[in-house]
């Protein structure tokens, strides 16, 4: 089965701290796309960052970056300088159809 696993159901950090959310996946394909989506309490899901498996360079979007380890099938999300607005559920996805169960991140002051 092609699955995406997020092993941390919940995480809590203080403002300005750095946090890493883990994600592993299973696939037999060589090229594919990986995504991290954020779902705040408003329920509106938005894309945080995406990575093409073909590219070795880790994707970065402002305070968000990934550590993509293709051989290990690992795709973790690092949030630097955490802000209160980062409080949300974060979903890792491989392609558009395969999502993990999510990690609820709480950022406190």
């Amino acid at each position: 089965a092609q699955t995406v696993t997020q092993s941390q159901p919940e995480m809590s950090v203080q403002e300005a701290e750095t946090v890493t959310l883990s994600c592993t996946y299973d696939t037999s394909e060589n090229n594919y796309y990986l995504f991290w989506y954020k779902q705040p309490p408003s329920r509106q899901m938005i894309l945080v960052i995406r990575q093409e498996a073909y590219k070795q360079q880790n994707a970065t979007e402002n305070r968000f970056s990934v550590n993509f380890q293709k051989a290990a099938k690992s795709f973790s999300l690092k949030i630097s300088d955490s802000q209160l607005g980062d409080t949300a559920m974060y979903f890792c996805a491989r392609t558009a159809l395969i999502f993990g169960k999510g990690t609820t991140l709480s950022v406190s002051s």
């Binding site: 329920r43 899901m45 979903f91």
Partner: protein, 117 residues
């Protein structure tokens, strides 16, 4: 432009009734997806429409679930004879014509929270 919209935002129905959930994708997006999000669970893929191709219905949990997309735009997800286990948030998303394996970002609607009593 406008994002993906869904209606209603909340729906309470009695067990055994039929419900219809509506999704208006972003104009020009040919790919449309329906997901179910149950409490504490991730997104469960239900159905995927791509242009004029036959939809991928592989995620529909039972024959009580069906969906259609008229004119390549608006989509309706229908649940017949609702059961309590159907209670969940139903999310719709659309993306550009790159296929479900491609790089295109999905744009999600706000979801419909369905409660079956």
């Amino acid at each position: 432009g406008a994002g993906v919209s869904q209606s209603p935002s909340n729906k309470v129905t009695e067990k055994g009734k039929d419900v219809e959930l509506r999704c208006d994708p972003i104009s020009g997006h040919t790919a449309l997806y329906w997901y179910r999000q149950s409490l504490g669970q991730g997104l469960e893929f239900l159905i995927y429409f791509q242009g004029n191709s036959a939809p991928d219905k592989s995620g529909l949990p039972s024959d009580r679930f069906s969906a259609e997309r008229t004119g390549g735009s608006v989509s309706t997800l229908t649940i017949q004879r609702t059961q309590q286990e159907d209670s969940a948030v139903y999310l719709c998303a659309s993306s550009l014509d790159r296929g479900w394996t491609g790089p295109s970002e999905q744009y999600f609607g706000p979801g419909t929270r369905l409660t079956v009593t």
